[in-house]
Symmetry: C2
Subunit: 252 residues, 2 copies
C-alpha cells in the first residue's frame, strides 16, 4: 500500500502593496508550483495588510490546520516590515536578535556603510527560530516550527525556496496533464463531468480562453496516480475526437 497521506500548506501574503493593487503578486504561483514538486499541496492563501492583528490571526488559524505555513513579505529593514513582530506574538514568544543572522548582516553590509538600526531589524527573529539561507541578498528567511517566513521580493523568495528544496517532508506529488481544444468549454461540459466521475481520484479543471478571435479551453487532469491520469487523458482525447473537436495533447 502506498502512503496516501496528503501534505498541505497555507500561505499568508503580507503587504499593503498587494491589497492596493500597486504590486502584482508573483509569490502565490511561485510557491504553489514549488510546493507541488515537494509533494505538498497549497490548500489556502490569505492576503493581509501590514497589520499586527490581521497577520497574527491568519498565521494562527492556518498553521494549526496545515502541515506547513509560509508567509511572504514584511521581513525587510523598514518600519512597515512587521512580520517578525506579528508572528512572534502569534507564536507567543519574544523577538530576539539571532546571532548568526547578525553576523551574516554584518558581513553583507561591511562594504555598504555597515549595520544601522534598520538593517539590524533583519536579524530579529521569534525566539527559538532557525534561519533559511538567502542566496540573493543578505537578510535570511526564518523558520519556527512549521512556519516559514520568506521575503516579499520574488527573486529573493526563489533563492530561499531553492535552499529548502528537498528539506520538507511531503507525500506523492499531484501529477497533471493538459489537453487543449478549440472548443467552447460549455459544449463539452457534460463529457468532462462524465470522465471525472468515471475515474476515482481524478480532477478535471477547465480553463477557457479567447485567442485569435476563437474560443478554446485547456483541460487539466490531476491525480496522484499515473495510471488514473493516463486513463483519464485517453478517455478525454477519445471523447473530444468523437465530437469532432480539434484538440492538442499538452495544451494550447
Amino acid at each position: 500500500m502506498s502512503n496516501s497521506r496528503i501534505w498541505t500548506a497555507a500561505l499568508v501574503v503580507i503587504g499593503d502593496e498587494i491589497l492596493s493593487g500597486r504590486t502584482q503578486d508573483k509569490n502565490i504561483a511561485q510557491i504553489a508550483t514549488w510546493l507541488g514538486v515537494q509533494g505538498i499541496r497549497l490548500k489556502e492563501v490569505r492576503v493581509v495588510a501590514d497589520d499586527m492583528d490581521a497577520i497574527a490571526e491568519a498565521v494562527n488559524t492556518l498553521r494549526a490546520r496545515n502541515d506547513y505555513l509560509f508567509t511572504t513579505g514584511g521581513i525587510g529593514p523598514t518600519h512597515d516590515d512587521i512580520t517578525v513582530d506579528a508572528v512572534s506574538r502569534a507564536l507567543g514568544v519574544d523577538v530576539v536578535i539571532h546571532p548568526e543572522a547578525h553576523a551574516i548582516l554584518e558581513d553583507y553590509y561591511k562594504d555598504k556603510g555597515g549595520l544601522n538600526e534598520g538593517r539590524l531589524r533583519m536579524a530579529r527573529v521569534p525566539d527559538g527560530a532557525e534561519l533559511i539561507p538567502n542566496r540573493y541578498s543578505g537578510a535570511p528567511g526564518i523558520r519556527f516550527d512549521n512556519v516559514y517566513l520568506m521575503a516579499g521580493v520574488p527573486q529573493i523568495t526563489a533563492g530561499m525556496l531553492d535552499a529548502l528544496t528537498g528539506q520538507l517532508e511531503g507525500g506523492a506529488p499531484l501529477l497533471s496533464e493538459t489537453v487543449g481544444a478549440w472548443v467552447a468549454e460549455s459544449e463539452i461540459a457534460g463529457l468532462l463531468h462524465e470522465i471525472e466521475r468515471a475515474h476515482e481520484g481524478s480532477q478535471i479543471g477547465s480553463y477557457p480562453f479567447f485567442r485569435e478571435g476563437r474560443v478554446g479551453a485547456n483541460f487539466v487532469v490531476r491525480s496522484i496516480s499515473e495510471d488514473t491520469l493516463k486513463s483519464c487523458i485517453d478517455s478525454l482525447c477519445e471523447g473530444l475526437g468523437e465530437m469532432g473537436c480539434d484538440f492538442t495533447p499538452g495544451g494550447i
Copy 2:
C-alpha cells in the same frame, strides 16, 4: 467635517488552478485598483479551492466584516464551477434559474449550437439575486446583497467591473504618490519612519528592487488627505536630498 468613514471590501479568489500554480492570478491587482478608484479599500483576500465548504466559510466570514465581498471564478459551465452552489449555501437560499440570465444565454448561444445543460448552469443564481452585465461574453455576473460574483477570466471580470463603476457607495479614495531613489531602503529606514510618524493619517510603504546591477526602492506615500500627502512627499524629497540620494518624483 468630511465623512471619514472607510469603506472596505474583501475578495475570495476561487480556483484549484491558482492554488496549483498553473494560473497566475490577475484579479487581485485588477479588483484592488478598481476598488481604490471607487473609494473602497480592499482589506483582505482569500484564495480557496473548488470546494463547497472552503468557499462557504470564506464568503460568510468576509461578507460579515466588510462592506462588500467579491468573488472571482467558478461561475462557468463546467462541473468544477460550483461558486453559485457554495454561495447559495452560505447565504441560506436556494439555487434558481434567473429568467433574464436564461434569456441572455439563449440569445448569446442561438448561433453557437443553442443552450445545453452546461450552458444553462450559467443562468443559475442564489434565489433573489440580481445580474451584473457581462459586456464580453454571454454569462452575467451575480449580485446578492453585498456579495458580487465575478468571472475568473480577467478580461470578463474587467467588463463586469466596468459595468459596476460608480454604482457602489464608497468613501474618500486613498490617494498615493511615489518617489523612487537609487538607495538601499535599509539606508533610509529611519527617515521613512520619522516622516510617517510626523504626518498623522499617512502611510509610507517601501518597495525595494534590484535593476541594472544597482539597488533602489520606490517609496509610496498614501493618505486620504491631499495636504498630508503633499507635505509627506515634500519632507521625503527634502530628506533624500539632504542625504545625497539620487531620487525621482513619480517613482523609478
